[in-house]
Each structure stands twice: as structure tokens, then as C-alpha cells.
Symmetry: C2
Subunit: 399 residues, 2 copies
């Protein structure tokens, strides 16, 4: 029995995760999510980490609805409402035909899934909001707008997931946020051989949310103001030059210093915020001793608002880092420890190990590693990949 | 058989440890040990933590010699030589009688012991150098000089151990260091009921020495300059006012913020320095949640260049903190865990515990606690307490 589709319009898209090397920490406007400093990130390959979102729009739907990772969620979240409202008002400004006007009264069903466990503490709000905005824009026909400004009001760092490769988020100075947007500085293939390793730390404790943490930092850290006005502007310029010149030593040093300073500001917050733990610290020491051995910065760590480490390195150095990681952070499931694009690394040589003074960490201090690299921005997928069925409800496989 | 004493002059003194609440971190002159900011500390009661030093001077000694904690050590350490040279040149300027001039050519034997394990990572160089300078000054008859300036060239924070109670180290601005000295701001009994608890963390790993760490911070931390010029001068004034007014909430907040900022600067150093570990962090969280429960700052943590915690609190609050510590940091030897002035605390009530969300830490994460309080400065002891025998060698009991 053929079912007539209730859906008037639909689209399915995917969007990537990004990892900042110049960190975003502090808002000058909580509602518009305008930052106190610019930031810069690499967008990660979607083979390893992505969000996929389908949006259906139908005059027959009774209300807007949302399913995240197989579970229906309330759509009343203010940030989600801000995003929907902005896309619809953009569509409204442009509506000319009767069909375009009718679309404004119709409701949407949104289904979104991640190909990675949200429990791992990887920033899923960036890829999540980027994907939602990108997909809504397809459905509402507003893809020519600077969509990163809409993603930004969902989750600040989501604006950077609207582009592939290397992406800067310019803080802007306007009160209405119109000059606070992301832009690609370099394509994903600009720097051949660049690899990124995510090390997921086994720590189930819920830390301070980044929204609440950065609010407390802005109010209480005396060092944050100095970072905002004196340090970040110079670093933004310097890291763009380092990426342009493919100068890893320069890129890596700025990346590590900026991660250190972000966590320093968290510690200078009152009461202090600790995102890094003893396992994170051991990763820092492993990378530091690796660079000391090489006599040059060949690998760079960075930590977001949690204990997980992300390491940037060129392919050869990354092979050694993976090997050292498997030694210093022993796993009870070594064969499945490294996910993504490579297989399990060989054990490090005694000669290599002789350069290190750090202790082996307790078994399973790290949960697993993901080998990845810079990748492209959001993608429009085919109808075959749609997560909704013809009645506008999640397909069984998406639940 | 009576032995005629070879010793021409001798003295025995004790000197205290101090714990800074405004932290010293950074030198503007490595040799004279001139700091980049002023600092302020409480001197601790010597019942719990002290150094005792005997100095004998004799024309019959062949060379200067030094015994530390029962073991003869080389006296060629440049800082030790600086201290000896400064005391002797002071004595030389003043020498008038033949006896006074003869003393300048004689050698000294120095014996020094701590009443606490040096392995615990408590700052023994402060009490050690303070005691050596104080005792040498007795022997050389130069006790009227501002001796804190000489202690300072042995170990910066030693200058603060030259006084009891609350002590400020004024950074000074002169190149010769003549205006960089310690002075007592308040007597030890100024603030009745003030208690200090030292929590020794079980972590045998040797961290970055403070001398090398602060050198790297001065060279690499962009935030340290802001701390030096903008933050510390205001805090020095504010904490003196808080101590003067016996305003614990104000005193405690400044103390915690300054400890946080010192460790933030360490993290902003490149490569970063981590002194606090996961156990330190758990102490911070326990104190933070305690203050939240009280609706006011009733206890304050501070951490020096290592993982050990020091907690300041008034007597009643300290009783609760001790009780909470015994719960959240379980010990396999609870009866001997708390050393110093009190006995083992009672277990906390279920009602008290209901205000806390932190987890119990692994057994013996803390090694032991020392209950102490502000106390007086260096003391001249009697000949009976001398650590040297009549031949000018360490007594067997000191070895």
C-alpha cells in the first residue's frame, strides 16, 4: 500500500566537529553568544566524528519536534528556539511566492544523530548546532546567508564547524553581532600530512559546563582581561602565519601555549575550575619530553573544557606519539584502543623510551584514541541517507 | 678526663617555617634574590615545625664545615657562601677590638636539624636559612642589623621566617636589594583562634624546583607580568587590612585567589608547571563546598610549589574541616593521621556530609595532617640545647 508523503520539503546534511588551537573562553553577550576574543580551529574529518541531521517541513505537522540520538527532546531550549527563529525570519524577509509564504507557517521535524558517543565529552554541541543550521537553511532556502552567525547563537564554537579546514571566528565588535562570524583561513588539504589524535580520558565525573565556567571566569579572573586584550590578538595573527607557512614548530608552540593559558585562566577563576586531571598532565609531559628529545616542537597538545587531550602532529611524529601513548597509557584492550584511520602502533624502542622520565600511567587511564585529520565542512547528503520516514517521523534505524 | 673546649664562641637558635598567603613567584635578580612582587605569610608555631641550628667558631678549626640533619654537606653551595660572606663582612665593618678582629679569621662549624621530615615537601629552606643567619648573627655579634636581607640571599622566603606572626616581604626597587626586606605586620597573637592545617599529599614524585620554575615563569608567562604590576600590589594592601580587622571572609578569599593565581601562572608557563595534583584539587573542592554550605568563606586553602595543601580557618571551622578531611581522605592509620595540637576528629554527621558532592578519595591519598597556628620568630636557645660538643663536632644525638 503506497503511502503519500506528508512532507513538503526535506534535507539531510552532515557537519563536523572542530578543535580550537586558539581557545574561545568568555562571552561579551550571553544571548547573542558574542565572544570576548577571536579563536581558531581545525575542522575534523567526518569519517571519524560527525553529526547527521534530517529536517522535514510539512503543513500537516502539528508542532516543531526534535529527536536527538534516538530520543525525542523538548524543543523549548532557548538556544534552539533562537536558531529556529533566526532561520525563519531570514526566510520570511525573502518570501515572495505563495509557496514560500506557506512554508513559514509549517512546522519542522528534526532528527539528529552523532557517529560518536556523546558521553566521551567531545564537543558535540558544535557539530550538532552547525548541522541543524546547515540543514534548516537547505529546507528554508536561505543557504546564501552567512550561516555561521546563526550557528553561533546555538553554540559559540558551532560557527567554526560551518567550514572545513582551518577556520577563524572573528570576535567582532558590534552589539548586534553582525560582525562576529567564522571564516575559512585555509582549506583542509592546505597542510598535507597534518594528523590529529584525540585521547579520550577515562573520567566519568561531570565537570563545570563551559557556559557556566566562562561566565564565572569573565566575572572573577583578573588574568582573563589581560589574555583578551594583550595576548590573543597577537596569537591569532601569528598562528595564521604559521599555518600559511606550514611551520609546525611555530604552530605547535602557539597551540600549546594557548591551551596552557586557557586552563591557567580557569584556575585563576574563583572558585577555580579544573578541567585537566593527572592523566591530562601525563599527556602534557609525554609531549613535552618528546619535543625535548627532538630538539624542536614536533607534536602539540591542546585541551578543551574537559580532561581529553588532542594532539596535533605531522604523520611521522604522530606514528611515534601513538607508539609512546600505547606504552605510557597501557590499555587492557590494546587492539581496539586506536580508532579511526590507522591500526595499532608498534611498541616503542628502548632507545626511544630512554628519552622519557615520566611514569607509566595506571591501566586504562585513557579510554581510547581517535586518529583523524583536518576535513571538509558540512555536506548535503542524499535522500537515501534521510533519517526521517515519509510520515515525517524518525526511521527505526535512527532511534 | 676533662676536655678543654676548642670553641671560642657559640650559639644555638631555632627558627620557624612560614606559609605565604600572597605568593612569591619570580625574581628580578637571581643572585641577590630580589623578587618581582611583594609577599605576605604567617609564621608557624615552632612546636610543630622548626629548624634548630648551632654554630661554633674557633681559631682551631681548619675550615668551615656544615652538617644538615645528621650528614656532613659541602659548604661550597653559592647561596650558603653568600650568606657567610655577608655576615662576615658586616662583622668586619664593625670590628674594633683585637678579639673582634681575630674572630674574622676563624672558621665555623654549623649543625642544623629539622623537627619534620624534609621528604614531606614542606619548605625547609626558609626555616633552614633563617636559622643559620640568626645563629651566625649571634656568634658574630651583628644581631642589630636587618638580618632578613641576609636570610633573603640564602632563600627568598627565608627572610619572612626572621619574624613571628604575620610578615610582609617588601619587594623593594633598589638594584642592591637594600630595600627588599621582611617586616612583621602583626604579632602571632593578634588574631586569637586562627588555626592552620597542613595536609601532606602522598606523592613522592619530585616536581619542578621553585628556583627553576620561577625562572621559566618570568621568561615565558605572559600573565605573570599582569599579576606583578596590577594584581599583587592591591592584594598586599587588602590582605593587611583584612588581617588588621580580623576579617576572615576577606582574608580567606584573597588567600585562595592568590594561591589559584600562582598556580595559574605556573600553568601559563611554557612548558607548563603543575604543582597541584588530583588530591590537591579534591582539597580545593572540599573547602569550596564547605564555604558554599556556610554561605561565607570560613576556610581557605593555599598551595605552595608542590601538591601539599595548607588550610587557614578559625578554630570552630577547623574542627569541622578536620572531621571532613578524615572522611573524604580516608587513612589506613587514622589514629596517628593528625599531628600537632589536636587529637583525631570525630566523624562528620550525615547532615554535614549532605552538603558535599565530592567523592571519597582513594585511601592514603593524604599522608598526614599537621595542626598548627601562627607563632613567634627565631629564638635563642640555651647551651644545653647545643647540637655541638666541646670539640666543635656534632653531638651523637644530632647525627
Amino acid at each position: 500500500m503506497a503511502v503519500e508523503s506528508k512532507v513538503n520539503r526535506q534535507a539531510t546534511c552532515s557537519a563536523p566537529v572542530n578543535i580550537a588551537v586558539i581557545k574561545y573562553w568568555g562571552k561579551r553577550d550571553e544571548k547573542l553568544i558574542l565572544p570576548t576574543n577571536s579563536s581558531l580551529s581545525a575542522t575534523l574529518d567526518q569519517a571519524d566524528l560527525k553529526t547527521t541531521t534530517s529536517v522535514a517541513l510539512s503543513s500537516e505537522f502539528d508542532s516543531d519536534r526534535l529527536w536527538l540520538n534516538g530520543k525525542e527532546e523538548s524543543i523549548t531550549n532557548p538556544r534552539l528556539q533562537n536558531v529556529l527563529q533566526k532561520i525563519r525570519s531570514l526566510a520570511s524577509e525573502r518570501a515572495q511566492t505563495d509557496e514560500e509564504k506557506a512554508v513559514l507557517d509549517a512546522h519542522v521535524h528534526i532528527v539528529s544523530v552523532n557517529n560518536f558517543p556523546t558521553a566521551a565529552g567531545l564537543a558535540s554541541s558544535a557539530s550538532g548546532y552547525a548541522c541543524m543550521v546547515y540543514t534548516l537553511a537547505q529546507v528554508y532556502g536561505v543557504t546564501d546567508y552567512e550561516l555561521s552567525k546563526i550557528a553561533r547563537v546555538g553554540s559559540g564554537s558551532a560557527c567554526r564547524s560551518m567550514y572545513g579546514g582551518w577556520v577563524a571566528w572573528n570576535m567582532g565588535t558590534r552589539d548586534d553581532g553582525d560582525d562576529s562570524f567564522a571564516e575559512q583561513t585555509h582549506l583542509a588539504d592546505h597542510w598535507p600530512g597534518m594528523k590529529i589524535l584525540i585521547l579520550v580520558v577515562s573520567d566519568r565525573k561531570k565537570g563545570t559546563s563551559s557556559t557556566s565556567g566562562m561566565g564565572t571566569s569573565v566575572r572573577t579572573s583578573e588574568l582573563l582581561q589581560h589574555r583578551i586584550t594583550e595576548v590573543v590578538p597577537k596569537r591569532m595573527a601569528a598562528i595564521k602565519e604559521a599555518i600559511e607557512a606550514r611551520d609546525f614548530a611555530q604552530f605547535g608552540e602557539i597551540t600549546m601555549r594557548d591551551s596552557n593559558q586557557f586552563h591557567a585562566v580557569c584556575l585563576d577563576t574563583y572558585p577555580p575550575i579544573f578541567y585537566m586531571n593527572d592523566t591530562s598532565k601525563a599527556v602534557v609531559q609525554m609531549v613535552t619530553q618528546y619535543n625535548t628529545m627532538k630538539g624542536e616542537v614536533k607534536a602539540a597538545y591542546t585541551f578543551d573544557a574537559g580532561p581529553n587531550a588532542v594532539i596535533y602532529a605531522m604523520e611521522d611524529a604522530m606514528a611515534e606519539i601513538a607508539s609512546l601513548t600505547s606504552h605510557f597509557f597501557p590499555s587492557t584492550t590494546p587492539d581496539t584502543f586506536f580508532r579511526g584511520t590507522t591500526t595499532a602502533p608498534p611498541a616503542p624502542s628502548a632507545e626511544l623510551l630512554s628519552h622519557f622520565t615520566i611514569a607509566q600511567q595506571p591501566e586504562d587511564s585513557l579510554q581510547y584514541g581517535i586518529n583523524t585529520q583536518p576535513g571538509p565542512g558540512p555536506q548535503v547528503l542524499t535522500d537515501e541517507e534521510c533519517l526521517l520516514d515519509s510520515s515525517g517521523l524518525p526511521k527505526a534505524t535512527s532511534a
